[in-house]
Symmetry: C2
Subunit: 344 residues, 2 copies
Amino acid sequence: MRDKATSFDIAHLAGVSQSTVSRALRNSPLVNKETREKVQAIAAELNYKVDKNASNLRRQQSGTLALLLFEDPTSDDSLINPFFLSMLGSITKASAKAGYDLLVSFQNLNDDWHAEYEDSNKADGIILLGYGDYVDYRDKLAKLEEQQTHFVRWGAHDVDHPGVSIGSNNIQGGFDITQHMINQGRTTFAFIGGADKHCPEFMDRYIGFSQALQEAGLVHNPVMQIEAISTEDSGYQATCSLLAAGLPFDALVCASDLIAMGAMRALRDNNISIPQQVAVAGYDNIPISSFANPALTTVQQNTKLAGEILVESLIQLINGSRVEQYLMPVDLVIRHSCGHVAQS
Amino acid sequence: MRDKATSFDIAHLAGVSQSTVSRALRNSPLVNKETREKVQAIAAELNYKVDKNASNLRRQQSGTLALLLFEDPTSDDSLINPFFLSMLGSITKASAKAGYDLLVSFQNLNDDWHAEYEDSNKADGIILLGYGDYVDYRDKLAKLEEQQTHFVRWGAHDVDHPGVSIGSNNIQGGFDITQHMINQGRTTFAFIGGADKHCPEFMDRYIGFSQALQEAGLVHNPVMQIEAISTEDSGYQATCSLLAAGLPFDALVCASDLIAMGAMRALRDNNISIPQQVAVAGYDNIPISSFANPALTTVQQNTKLAGEILVESLIQLINGSRVEQYLMPVDLVIRHSCGHVAQS
DNA sequence: CTGAAAGCGCTTACAG
DNA sequence: CTGAAAGCGCTTACAG
């Protein structure tokens, strides 16, 4: 092990006390400009960095945010939902911009993660991300809150949910995309995605979907809503069972792009043309979607903004401010899978 | 701020000394089984977690690995190369498995990152990831080595490069994919991607490409190698200039999938059919590629294995072992863009 | 503006 | 097997 310089070494070289070195390096206004510059010059030359562990221990904070990523337990172990990957990228950048380090961890819903980070002083706060089964981890959220851990959660807002949620407006998104398809002349709709309490995001998209149909005076047959989790494969299976049921439809709203990719594959395998016979819409605008054939019409969540708001909100929480839950607006990305040619 | 229990509180409640609490919680064999269990039970009940800052300060290590992600400075700010995103996922999992926390940071090549992490004791070692301009940051690598920082780098091996590199066998990959296209009957090749010292990965792929042509007795006209960085747009531009040059070709080897996506778009825009008129191959097997039209034949890097080896190697380095550079094998993923139907 | 000193919460060599 | 004590490297209230 190499031995590193300490603030005492710098003090010795600069001919000042160690306290002064510490102040100078933290840019304290108390210290004389010349002294400060001298100290900083010596520190730079020695490649001295303040020991974070000592500094954090003393200051009782960590300058670090923890990002806990839950995965859908049923999804392939080696694959991460591209949407979360994109969120991860934006959160990483946002925390760097805010001067925080980011600790990233993949969690299993069963793990005893709820205290791990902040209690051990590894992080000042936690960002929770993932389409987990909401019912399963509500208790843990409650416990986090009870322990006064600082955390924000990405996801749907729920009236009596513990903590602060930042999410996009899934009802609006479901509504907009369905309305777009109605405007394209579609009349008989099916919805693929689990619409129940366990996945509030999908549930909200389904609510928006239903609202749009109702507003247009179209009838929705509940049989035409098929459960699916957010994987290509699940979308494929669900679409196959929908086809097997034999009821006609000319529009397929999928709760996620991954589901839509699977749905399109199933339709293709059954020689059903998209969008001529069936229009397909997704949700998320993951990178794949623009390259699909036909390019997928979908709903875009602004991951860049989402990451920033998540990080900013958490920092506000850490600083003792109250934070409101926030519903992010959502954008329609019109491509070819619903029979409309993109403007751009 | 809530106040947290300390080891002294536990000691008091358990009726033992604080030293014994510390030992018990670290599962020291020195402490009596009953004492240990009692202490651990009390700690669990109080939700007590060892303060990492204090522990790390005392033990002079952090239990944390830092992942520095460099981005191609020219790429869109909000987009991360999907290949690296996938590596990020696998590194995250591998470090969790090894019991290390992972600090993730996006770096600009110009930043003064080379000392930041280990010098400040925030991390025990660093993983460097990114297709940066290699020439630009070689000096920093040298400095890292000089300071005896523990680090591993993802990328091409270079004889006189500083530090340990883990990378996939890009020469082999370039060779295999080109040979596959030759076997499909292609004779006139072009290569898109910057093949020079600044990007050793692309350079190696180009070397493999050239070897395959040479082995097959095919001539390669150097004019048919066009510079491009790893973006869809750059691939598009490069292909357009290739087409503008007017020389015929029936096979296009791209240094990355992103480039290939752009190349396919350019060919499509020029009404050139893939693979009938021109076969196109990529490199990376990013998720998009399987959904492209036609599905892209490419070279797969095993990101799961890569993440594990990167993490394991770094930990060995931290533990004082020597680590060899490692060249990972690479797999051909045959789909439709080179005129071959996938077996699967 | 500067210095001496206390203390953040642990781990571990030392003594028993 | 257990305890008292030193010390990791800082930050900051206190005194000047």
